[in-house]
């Protein structure tokens, strides 16, 4: 990195050729020779990163008309910086700036901010749709995202802190928090871990997540990610810390508890009884989403005597033609379901319907007729699938889908005791998990009855006082 020390050359051509070399003689590098104060000067920019009308109107026209005024008078609306290191200049070319070299001042050159903006409009994120409430979402531009958050929270306490991460292609990362609400210990941890990231480039927020997690070996996500400004704003006001990456519409929220993954902004726009009911259903889905197949296996392979007698015959009747043990049967169907899900995700939406037909009609019906699996198994897997999609957070939903498999194996070896074993290990793990020093399972463990009001159910908003109880102290 010694070349970054290269300062400006005394001659205009020297500078131009240095930059040319530096950018490997790329064709979209444009050099326009102009005259300023009677002397020849050069405007250098990367055609692909700048806004041509902006340059035409705000750079070239003033230069032609204004003549000899000072540069800061000429470029009133553009941001103007002076720089003397060529490599810095080259770098800034890449991010949509143009460089202005004048002959009379060969100690420094000017950097003009003229980036091209091709922005997606602020639309509602597709996988986080809500019924009532704000329908905007984050986009790839960090400034716009910050703007959206600032609009939500017009408070002087909202603090943004930029970091640059990545050694070869650094990207801007913003850390946001409410200065008066967030726990300083958490902020310190977040900043410390961000600084500790050593990587050449950050491709997505997933990278940041994996670098910063307390327990990267855990299956559970320890960051909540969302593309909704209102969701993010609510968490900020709750004293959480938000991390955003330039060029990625995802906001990472820490510290989170398990129950955060089961909440949606809709909960707070619904009436509280309905919201409580929905939340309760969602938490129920947590149980069914990964225990149902295991439960079924345990019953069918071990404890058939817990079935009431009529059900006993029904299930037995559906099983008679199935040649495989329940574990294989369940695995088979679960894997088919995962296949269909993954295929549906990748296919364009028009073809996507075919998957529905293939999955639902062809496989669902034919597989039973062919005698691979039983009808009851189909019911179980379908219920599991539906429950797993009830979880608002995609990451948590995937985690829970994966959890089914070990639990199914446990159930097929030890029956209910196996399930108890699996659940014990799972919950011990959850108890161990901490997200930036905050217990993952709070308010359940450590038990805080007050926290239940907004974790399991949603009590009327006026009863949910303060910020989740445990956030401030300890």
């Amino acid at each position: 990195m010694t070349s970054s020390e290269q300062t400006i050359y005394p001659s205009l051509d020297g500078n131009i050729s240095y930059i040319r070399d530096k950018l490997c003689h790329t064709d979209d590098l444009k050099v326009r020779h102009l005259t300023y104060r009677g002397q020849s000067s050069a405007l250098i920019y990367l055609e692909s990163t700048v806004d041509p009308t902006l340059i035409e109107r705000n750079v070239i026209r003033p230069l032609r008309q204004g003549g000899d005024e000072d540069l800061s008078q000429l470029f009133l609306t553009l941001r103007l910086e002076t720089e003397h290191k060529l490599d810095q200049g080259t770098q800034s070319l890449l991010s949509g700036n143009c460089l202005f070299f004048t002959k009379d001042d060969m100690k420094q050159f000017y950097v003009l901010t003229t980036p091209a903006k091709y922005e997606r409009s602020i639309t509602e994120p597709e996988n986080e749709g809500i019924i009532r409430g704000a329908h905007n979402g984050f986009i790839e531009d960090l400034t716009v995202n910050l703007y959206q958050i600032r609009q939500q929270i017009s408070s002087t306490d909202l603090k943004v802190h930029y970091h640059n991460i990545g050694s070869t292609a650094p990207r801007k990362v913003a850390v946001m928090y409410m200065n008066n609400l967030a726990d300083p210990a958490v902020i310190k941890k977040v900043e410390g871990r961000l600084k500790g990231i050593t990587i050449d480039s950050v491709i997505s927020t997933g990278f940041i997540q994996e670098f910063m997690e307390d327990q990267p070996f855990s299956i559970f996500p320890q960051f909540l990610n969302t593309e909704r400004p209102d969701h993010t704003g609510a968490y900020l006001l709750d004293g959480h810390v938000v991390i955003m990456l330039e060029g990625d519409p995802t906001a990472l929220i820490v510290p989170v508890s398990f129950f955060c993954f089961y909440q949606t902004p809709d909960d707070y726009s619904n009436r509280w009884m309905i919201a409580s009911f929905v939340r309760f259903i969602r938490l129920l889905s947590f149980i069914t989403a990964f225990q149902l197949p295991a439960f079924y296996i345990a019953i069918v392979a071990f404890h058939s005597n817990i079935l009431p007698i009529q059900l006993f015959f029904t299930v037995q009747g559906s099983l008679t033609r199935v040649p495989y043990p329940p574990l294989v049967e369940a695995m088979l169907l679960e894997l088919i379901f995962e296949l269909l899900r993954e295929a549906g995700l990748r296919l364009p939406s028009r073809v996507g319907q075919t998957i529905g037909i293939v999955g639902g009609l062809v496989i669902g019906d034919a597989i039973v007729k062919a005698g691979f699996v039983s009808y009851t198994m189909i019911i179980v897997v379908a219920l599991t699938a539906i429950s797993s999609f009830l979880i608002p957070s995609n990451e948590m939903s995937s985690a829970i889908r994966i959890l089914r498999f070990p639990l199914m194996i446990c159930a097929s070896i030890f029956g209910f005791i196996g399930i108890a074993f699996g659940l014990t290990i799972l919950f011990i793990h959850l108890c161990k998990l901490e997200s930036f020093g905050k217990p993952y399972l709070s308010p359940l463990a450590p038990l805080k009855i007050k926290g239940f009001k907004d974790a399991f159910l949603r009590f009327p908003i006026w009863t949910i006082r303060g910020r989740h109880g445990e956030k401030k102290h300890n």
């Binding site: 070996f217 446990c410 097929s412 030890f414 029956g415």
Partner: protein, 377 residues
């Protein structure tokens, strides 16, 4: 890295256990052949004959199950089951049955021995299994295989349950309650008593037990009366009696009434006199709903009063008869002994309850009052 490898090892270990060995207590539902109803009889050479109804799962999804009847003779219940297992196809299990029949001959011999396996083996069900005593051999009833469209086990279950609703037998006597009564010196039990008439299975009343063996029976009306005397009701308790309404004009009318679905007042009290005599007060106040009345007059206030009086005296007579028969059979169904144990332990230790029960003086009184005559008077 290290932890990842550890996790991998654990997974491999788990998988290999799952796939290679793990089938210790596994018992696939589809391999089970359920013995849905079981009957026990005593053979002439004092062995146990076990008759089972096996349910065969259907071949296709929608079709119904079928059943097979098998029987075997063995030294004990489990012994007979083991012999049966060698005979029937597949894996015969008694993990779930809803009714067990006991032939009268075996019931006379005592229930402790044949029932032992039910109490002992944790896999055998106990909460919802009805025990029934049959007039002749239990195998005869199970051997009927199908009654109408229903399989025999299903038929018996439904029959017993509907009779329980009619207060013929109530509260339900299951393996559990029988276990409790069998081991209790101060409490006896009764079991439903059924028999075959032609091609039909009919309820005959209840079988009375003393300690562990069959000691008498009660008829159908008496069974309902017994349930009422216990202070219970399965929902309906219907009687049809003929009452003499007018002595001057002896027009006899029959009256059907239900005393099971209204509130009852039941008093059961055990007292001991100074010289050690045991007195039991058993009084019952019933509220009757008239369901049918074929007499000539209207059931106006006067008539109702009269009917009340008549019915009360009829019912009291019947109740006394029931108690008399219970005492004759030495069946302490009310748990008088238990009351003595709990509240008069000294007396209990002194007496021989097996003999003393017959000397207990019951003061039985039944009062019936009509509170509803239907939509017409």
């Amino acid at each position: 890295m290290k932890r990842g490898r550890g996790a991998l090892c654990c997974t491999m270990l788990g998988l290999s256990t799952a796939l290679l060995t793990g089938c210790w207590d596994r018992e696939y539902l589809k391999d089970l052949n359920l013995a849905y109803s079981v009957g026990f009889d005593l053979t002439k050479d004092h062995k146990i004959k076990e008759t089972v109804e096996l349910i065969i799962p259907p071949k296709t999804e929608q079709s119904a199950t079928t059943n097979e009847i098998h029987s075997a003779v063995g030294l004990s219940t489990r012994g007979a089951s083991n012999i049966l297992r060698a005979r029937v196809r597949g894996n015969m299990r008694v993990i779930k049955n809803s009714v067990q029949l006991i032939g009268r001959s075996l019931a006379e011999e005592g229930l402790k021995a044949p029932m032992d396996v039910n109490f002992r083996d944790p896999r055998n069900p106990s909460s919802d299994v009805r025990l029934v005593v049959t007039e002749n051999d239990a195998s005869e009833i199970i051997g009927m295989k199908k009654i109408g469209e229903l399989q025999i086990g299903e038929f018996l279950t439904q029959k017993i349950r509907s009779l329980e609703k009619m207060s013929l037998f109530y509260p339900p006597e299951t393996v559990n309650t029988v276990f409790r009564a069998l081991t209790d010196p101060g409490q006896d039990f009764v079991l439903p008593y059924i028999g075959v008439q032609g091609s039909e299975i009919v309820a005959k009343g209840v079988a009375l037990f003393h300690d562990q063996s069959f000691s008498g029976t009660l008829g159908k009306d008496q069974s309902i009366m017994l349930v009422l005397l216990k202070g219970k009701s399965g929902g309906n308790a219907r009687f049809t009696k003929t009452v003499n309404l007018d002595t001057s004009k002896p027009i006899r009318g029959s009256i059907s009434y239900n005393v099971g679905n209204k509130k009852r007042k039941h008093e059961f009290h055990v007292s001991v006199t100074r010289n050690g005599d045991v007195h039991v007060t058993l009084s019952l106040k019933l509220q009757a709903v008239i369901e049918e009345f074929t007499g000539p007059q209207l059931l106006d206030d006067k008539a109702v009063k009269r009917v009340n009086r008549e019915l009360s005296s009829i019912m009291t007579q019947e109740a006394r008869e029931v108690v008399r028969e219970l005492q004759q059979a030495n069946c302490d169904i009310f748990g008088v002994g238990r009351q003595l144990m709990a509240y008069h332990p000294k007396l209990w230790k002194r007496i021989d309850w097996n003999k003393e029960y017959r000397n207990v003086q019951f003061h039985t009184q039944v009062q019936v009052s009509i509170i509803d005559t239907g939509v017409i008077q």
